[in-house]
Symmetry: C2
Amino acid sequence: MADKFMSMRNLKFTLFSRKGKYPSDNPDYLKDHTPKTIDMVFKAAAELARKAMHPMFEEMDRYSPTLENGHVHVHEGVRPMLETLGQDGWIAAGFPEKWEGENMPSSLLLCINFIFATANYSASVYAGLTMGAAKLILNFGSTQLQDTCIPPMLSGKWQGTMALTEPEAGTSLGDLCTEAIPMEDEKYKINGEKIFISTGDHDAVDNVVHLMLARIKGAPAGAKGISLFVVPKLRFDDNGDLIGNDVIVTQLFHKLGYRGAPITGLRMGENNNCIGWLVGKKHKGLSYMFQMMNNARLEVGMGAAAIATAAYHAALDYCRSRHQGRKVTAAKDSKPIPIIQHPDVKRMLLFQRAVVEGSLSLILQCGMYEDILGSNPANKDCHLLLEILTPIAKTYPSEMGILSTSAAIQCFGGYGYCDDFPVEQHFRDMRIHTIHEGTTGIQGLDLLGRKIVMENGRALILLKQEMEESIQAAKLHKNLDAMTQDLTQAMAILEKTTKDLGALAMEKGPEAYLADASLYLEMFGILVIAWQWLTMADAASYAIKTKSQGQTKPNKKEILFYEGKLHVAQYFFSHELPKIKGLSKTLADKTQVTLTMPDACFTD
Amino acid sequence: MADKFMSMRNLKFTLFSRKGKYPSDNPDYLKDHTPKTIDMVFKAAAELARKAMHPMFEEMDRYSPTLENGHVHVHEGVRPMLETLGQDGWIAAGFPEKWEGENMPSSLLLCINFIFATANYSASVYAGLTMGAAKLILNFGSTQLQDTCIPPMLSGKWQGTMALTEPEAGTSLGDLCTEAIPMEDEKYKINGEKIFISTGDHDAVDNVVHLMLARIKGAPAGAKGISLFVVPKLRFDDNGDLIGNDVIVTQLFHKLGYRGAPITGLRMGENNNCIGWLVGKKHKGLSYMFQMMNNARLEVGMGAAAIATAAYHAALDYCRSRHQGRKVTAAKDSKPIPIIQHPDVKRMLLFQRAVVEGSLSLILQCGMYEDILGSNPANKDCHLLLEILTPIAKTYPSEMGILSTSAAIQCFGGYGYCDDFPVEQHFRDMRIHTIHEGTTGIQGLDLLGRKIVMENGRALILLKQEMEESIQAAKLHKNLDAMTQDLTQAMAILEKTTKDLGALAMEKGPEAYLADASLYLEMFGILVIAWQWLTMADAASYAIKTKSQGQTKPNKKEILFYEGKLHVAQYFFSHELPKIKGLSKTLADKTQVTLTMPDACFTD
């Protein structure tokens, strides 16, 4: 297996090349974290990833979790990994000092989870899910719930989960029907069934705490009647001993990939003895959950970018070392060349870099907005920017990651289709991301149906301002002239499409407006990633200029890195950005066949 | 599992809607096969597929072949399946009467293999590979080789394979180094190694016959020194008994999908006792192999279309029966609707139909040219049309099939990621097709570097004439006006791109010309499939018109089928064809980053 699964240089370059209204050479939003301390943290994370996660990358897939006598068994390396993550403070890092955390900014947490996920995606989700669940308890739970749950969760001894999906309701959360019957105080009897619960049960922890959506008996129908509960696998009895809480594992899903993490079905209250603790106020569950959802969706995009990054590095390594064929202009009896020298292979590598580095950049852009917002929750502009970019940061890496990992397979030829190399696993692991935490279709509806129209379209105006600032900054570099022009033109195309769709909504109603929302999301995503590439090209151009003129002798390898960035940016602008031409034409098509084709015509 | 994995109605519609210079209401090229006899043959094939192949679709994947003591064991259902295929004449169908065949046209063989492959792709390749190998022996082998090998192969008792790839040479066949040392007559001692040999060894047959490329000792270097041999697993001794031929299975590849068929590594001559029989003339091996390659590539495209077809039918079935969510305009307390009614789900189904039905149509278009050429090998026009379309017929279904099966997964949501439904297996089975029988990169070079320039570009001129005839025919239907205009415009864009690339070749040489050949292939493919959709829309419009005006009462279900065709054609023209806008822009880009980026810039 390839030794390298990520580039530390690229991660730091990306973190420190944020632009826009919030300049970032020594960015405020990272608080007291300096490039030097960040370097130390990232190195420690990479070391842990290499030692505790990467060695079991293949094994966790080949020997995936099993369900025996109602208990889920996972790889024996998961427990010591979680213990280390707990002991060394990685799970608590984003929490306040009270919980022995360090209040680490979201941006840095995203980077750390990125490092973990490049090493072993399945391994990385255990702690990630616990962090999310503990954050919900911290933000909305009672003091008692906090005191009971947060310490063992942050120490890696208890697993946290998000338990939303039900067999019949799926994406349509308003239809869920797990029932909660009031007992005393904040206690409720829980009765119902959940499916697709990631890390829903396993033997690498002593307990599992489900953050579960349910409907209190007599609550209003639909989304407004849903409350949030803590439903543990084991609960404390009056003596302070952990006893069963009537949560049964009904099934373990056998999946295409992402096999190192158990995804379970759960049955609560089979013996009418399952207790849940209300989190926050009654009937507010969905809004609590959705306050966490932006971050959860960023994490999905980050996971997708991480998997595709690992696949890219494996492919790059192979393309450098594998000799085959020769240039079309070479003598027939010349020696075979490394396949990276074939333009089509180079194209596939450029494509992967364009996708994975562009995706990472967008995710850290969102991380920055999260952090600014964290310091100042009243910053409405930042909130809106985060709102409009989240569906893209979730979807672009996930959708394009399928193609990117597929390109990694293609770089290997037949070997890529075999499990001697890690890329076929990356391809399988990747495929979940367009589905979990809201499918691509849902993200499209969210972007066009909610984020574009909220506050009279102010989010798009703010985003345009951000892009314009980046364009102005990039104009200082003459080599970026063509890119700034292309991005300006692309923005105009998006604005026209948005306006035309608005007119369509007025004329024909919301269904016509939203019919091709997924394509609008796709088009929007390409534009946003082009913007990110421009900011990276800007930062790279700046670095080349200053390093060349600096006192110290320019480091040749660094210069090559920055020149590489410029080439990949060029690739994005010449090979990816033009796709919006076709998409804008499709979105302008009046026939709207996705709306007008009768179901009955799907005959044969 | 969904019961339906293909549509017989659609297969027959597609077969009988060929247009162009060779009208096809009762087409000559199908010889004495009438719609009635064809119907009988297809029904019998579907029956066999349903009974002997489909029931082991999952099992062949879950319990994939094993290698024990040098022998490969496959699913126990493979042997009876091959016996049936042999006894009932399916393997021999395309062969002359002398071999108890029926001289069945290629078009019909493609249809039959399509039916088999929709039921169980892995199961379908065993007989398909035997047919191809036996055909090579028939066309170029000695009478003795024919008499020895063809009968047991066509009876399903012996397996045939194509043994080309070697560990170091891969795609670059000219570099292969398996050696053949002359013995007597046509016998040679064989020494070397092969990898990725499909059905290279297994226990469902009594012998395996490898059609193997090797280099006779002292032969010229490169492609011109390669000869073709029959190298059997077992050979006859002087008593007429089968004895070992020193062919050792070195490994069994563990693959992402396509797991029901064993792919092996082979070592010939470990004990200097492997004998091969020369097929045809010395040093002509590659040209013999390439005469079979067009058909082999069509079969790959067909296989890809078949897998995506099966995935589409599974997704369609699910989307009709699964109720979730409601229309954006519906009351919140209304009942959940079948998800096929959501425009985004409909879009994904339309996309799949557009890909799979368009692909099948192109493959049968190529089958028609093969059959016309079979009757009259001097028909140079047909030959050129087949030459230019083959890389597209191989690649479009394979590349788009990845996206199509991925869309099938997406239709199922989380369930699609689990092995409770067949689509995750289809997604895995699909991924081999852009690799085997020449990668997409190789197909791009073949199209742009060879097919476009051969005979002064005559193939493209002929293809344009074919398209123009289709456009003229479609102009009789007013409802197709927009499509005929769009296709005409798209052809002009392709011509301009081709011309510009020609100018680039003159100015900057072949490397610049071929740098983005894969994208040219992609663009060309979209145009060609648009043409196929226009011919299908033409045939559907004609059918609606005649059926509505006919003596007999129009069958409502049939009308819905034809109207469905028109909607999917509309989808292709509004959602897929516009992609050539972006591609033509990319191909016109002067920076040529896939050529100019230095390898050294792939640092970090």
